[in-house]
Amino acid sequence: MMDGSTVTDLHAEGRARGIPAPIAMLAELTHRCPLSCPYCSNPVELARKERELSTEDWIRVFHEAAELGVLQLHLSGGEPASRRDLVELVKAAREAGLYTNLITSGIGLSERRMAELDEAGLDHIQLSLQGTDAEMADNIGGYKGGFKRKMMVAEWIKASGIPLTLNAVVHRRNLHQLPRAIEMALEMEARRIEVAIVQFHGWAMQNRDALMPTKEQAQEASRIVAEARAALKGRLVLDYVPADYHSDYPKRCMGGWGSSGLNVAPDGEVLPCHAAQTIPSLSFDNVRDRGLADIWYNGSAFNAYRGYEWMQEPCRSCERKTKDFGGCRCQAMALAGDPAATDPVCIKSPLHGELQKRAEAFSGNDAAELIYRGQPA
């Protein structure tokens, strides 16, 4: 803590500056993963195992997060089950008072480990789905036998009673399997399914040719989701992330940059969002050096795009800015070369027309091959 201010002081200062406390924290426990999905949102520069935070560090960070006002903790990666201390971390997170969610491919979980996670008080599991059959799933995940194992894990989750969300990432290659994915969620007795059309950050950027859905597919997905929502009301909740390259307006940037959530990378760097490291002008603080509350309220990366002051035209005078916050900063960086620019997905961006043309070209490139994610060195 700088100059001895307590977390209570920091909260009071934050309130005076109009900065809310964060609701959610994504803890990327490791970048290691047995799968190598070509759309992985991890940074292209992966953190090595030796750089990962220790068990004690993570436990301290969970307590700091609870004190900062975080309610929901997402344990993610890479594959969080690749951490030997996963059960211990879940237990500690619950003791810190956090709602604890595990985001996993299922690989690395055994029946025994599932029972231990259950006992440790795990609140919720999100199981990723790469495809609805072994052929598709193992091809996309780049891991033979992965689908079969995942189906076993789904059975253990069902038997444990831990609530389940199925996370289906869909793209040009597997979008036709979406109706079956929804059926599978019902068979697994999942309470929710998240249908996310692939977002182009991290490793996915180099796979835009191989994965970009066609405009027709994107519309078809929206229709399928809307129908399923109506038909399955009260049985299955559907959350949906549409294909933004084909949209007229960008996705909103969370509840606004630095206003609802934060990310802790495997090496302890604290990021406003999972893709923030793609913005070269930002520098990040580390939980090894600075308290989490101090980083949240005073860290330069968090303050960079808070509020509306940093905006340029057309966002600055746009009435939608309080809704979408100008779209995605990381996408503005990637596509416009300027993190403070209007997200090029937006119809008001001078780059919008060009982007739509490129999206069409990407989605028509059926010869493109998948480029798989690498592993930490």
Binding site: L68, G69, Y99, D123, H124, P163, K233, L236, V237, D239
Partner: protein, 90 residues
């Protein structure tokens, strides 16, 4: 909701006192629902064995309010949460 239904808070959903923001929240998969005192009062009565009728009668007595009105408000509140798969009926 009919009086003999028994509402249940399922595994993975829990009431939590949010000390930082000074209020109660209902934590559920991917959701944190801020509760007003009425919502908190209703959820606090759900223990997995009392029926909806017993709960609304109890609340009516406790808050000295017409039971019919309480049953209507609490019923809508619970059904709304059931549609979002946050509460269940035993």
């Amino acid at each position: 909701m009919s009086p003999e239904d028994i509402p249940v808070i399922p595994r993975g959903v829990r009431l939590h006192e949010d000390r930082v923001r000074g209020s109660w929240v209902l934590l559920a998969p991917e959701r944190a629902i801020r509760l007003d005192p009425i919502g908190h009062a209703i959820l606090s009565e759900i223990d997995g064995s009392r029926s909806f009728g017993a709960i609304t009668a109890g609340l009516a007595a406790k808050y000295n309010a017409p039971e019919e009105q309480i049953a209507k408000d609490a019923g809508e509140f619970i059904e709304g949460l059931m549609n979002r798969r946050i509460l269940e009926v035993a």
